[in-house]
């Protein structure tokens, strides 16, 4: 993964809904490894920004660029892995959900089989490969989504509140796997409104913290600096809530 250093960048990203700027002139660049955090209150625009970065929606203005080594034309989209708060679960088996992704990427069958076996073992779903994916619990479905993204060998992983609605064991397992991947050089953008999780988890491997408020993104800070001396008034207020 480390050989495919890729830069994911947004410049002047704007997204309007009902004449309101949900994402407002955002510049962001994800290139370094480690786990970066994207924090902010509910409704700050985090999901919208991540959707723009993942290419799920097009910005009203601004550009999103993927550049760097290992960026293949066409297949470029899949180089960005996205875990959503509520994953897309296809009406197929656990294996079939993984296979669909690799087939779409044109991976040949023998390689698919090996990668899926590894991926499912990693998220501890190897015993469930043949089960209908829709019968999995929420935590298992999110683990499946993680496996689905990892077997595609993304160059960047975006996790949008990926564990926010899960029980502690599932959360811990997903955090551990993502942290391990980040340690091998995979850049991760971890989106959360949960400061405890950010503290425990974010900032590893040189990742930084982006704070979002009403569609605006503050310049990134190191994690210690963010907690001790937040750069914006809004970030200070956001941190203050947690201390009470």
């Amino acid at each position: 993964m480390a050989e495919a250093r890729l830069i994911l960048e947004g410049r002047g990203l704007c997204l309007h809904r009902q004449s309101r700027a949900i994402v407002d002139r955002v510049d962001i660049r994800i290139d370094a490894g480690g786990i970066s955090g994207l924090v902010g209150a509910n409704g700050a625009g985090k999901t919208s920004l991540v959707s723009l970065l993942a290419g799920l929606i097009a910005p009203d203005s601004g550009v999103r660029r993927i550049t760097g080594a290992g960026c293949v034309e066409g297949a470029g989209e899949a180089r960005i892995g996205l875990m959503m708060q509520k994953p897309v679960i296809m009406r197929r088996s656990v294996y079939g959900n993984c296979d669909y992704v690799l087939k779409a990427l044109g991976v040949e069958k023998a390689v698919r089989r090996a990668r899926i076996a590894d991926g499912l073992a990693l998220v501890r779903l190897d015993q469930r490969a043949r089960d209908d994916a829709r019968l999995l619990s929420a935590g298992e479905q999110q683990r499946l989504a993680l496996a689905q993204m990892l077997i595609a060998e993304p160059a960047v992983l975006l996790c949008d509140e990926a564990t926010s609605s899960l029980d502690p064991p599932s959360r811990r397992l997903i955090e551990k796997i993502v942290a391990d991947k980040a340690a091998t050089g995979l850049p991760v953008l971890w989106v959360t409104h949960n400061l405890a999780q950010l503290k425990r988890f974010g900032g590893r491997g040189g990742g930084r913290v982006f704070f979002m408020h009403q569609g605006r993104l503050a310049p990134p800070q190191d994690i210690e600096a963010f907690f001790t001396a937040p750069a914006s008034k809004e970030a200070r207020a956001f941190l203050a809530y947690e201390r009470i």
Partner: protein, 232 residues
């Protein structure tokens, strides 16, 4: 008392394998299955296209297809009649009062049903799958095939709904088929005729078969449909 005798005779007809009766049943199945087959060939792709594409007039077209589900069969029969009768634009084909004419009418009646149900079902799945499709950059054709594959239960339900409608249909096939013995006489038209001339046992026998077939179709719809609802 008369009713009881008629019912008894009806069973007698069925159990004896009355050849006239089975000719009618067989023709019914042949006409309707053929019509539903063609309607599916048209309706599945059209429904899938409507579910996955947006273009100028899309909303109106979807509304139109939904409205066409409620087409009055006799009006369709009349329209087809005017097309294929001697003086009609397709008169030279000499289709009036043939099974082909009945199939044409049935296809017109059933295609909107299959199209509309297919569109609604695949649009729902498409909405769920959209983030994944976008993430992977799935091409339109592959996207449609994915939806058709993963929505097969709904497609089967649509197909059976169409078959149910065709089997129950009487007005249109009567007009364009003419209810000719041994040639275009199907279960519904036959029941109409036999009842009107008092041959209740034949009407009952056919009615029973039609009822059982309809119940079977709906049973399959319910069983298969429930399988899909389990996922929540």
């Amino acid at each position: 008392m008369e009713t009881l005798i008629a019912i008894k005779q009806a069973f007698g007809l069925l159990l004896s394998g009355d050849s006239a009766l089975f000719t009618i049943i067989f023709l019914s199945l042949k006409v309707n299955l053929t019509a539903v087959g063609y309607a599916a060939l048209l309706g599945f792709p059209m429904g899938a296209l409507l579910a996955t594409t947006r273009f100028y007039g899309h909303t109106m077209l979807v509304g139109l297809v939904n409205a066409l589900m409620g087409l009055p069969p006799v009006v369709v029969g009349l329209a087809v009649y005017m097309m294929i009768s001697r003086s009609g634009p397709l008169g030279v084909l000499d289709l009036l009062y043939t099974p082909t004419a009945m199939i044409i009418a049935q296809v017109i009646l059933v295609t909107p049903i299959i199209t509309a149900l297919t569109r609604a079902a695949l649009a729902r799945i498409d909405k769920d799958y959209t983030p994944l499709f976008r993430m992977l950059g799935i091409a339109p054709m592959r996207r449609m095939l994915t939806l058709i594959r993963d929505g097969w239960v709904e497609l089967l339900t649509a197909l059976l709904a169409g078959l149910g409608r065709a089997m129950a249909e009487v007005g249109a096939v009567m007009i364009v088929g003419g209810n000719i013995n041994h040639f275009t006489r199907v279960m519904t038209t036959s029941i109409t005729l036999e009842t009107s001339r008092g041959a209740l046992s034949v009407a009952l026998a056919l009615g029973g078969v039609l009822l059982v077939l309809t119940l079977l179709i709906n049973l399959v719809v319910v069983v298969v449909g429930r399988r899909e609802q389990d996922d929540g």
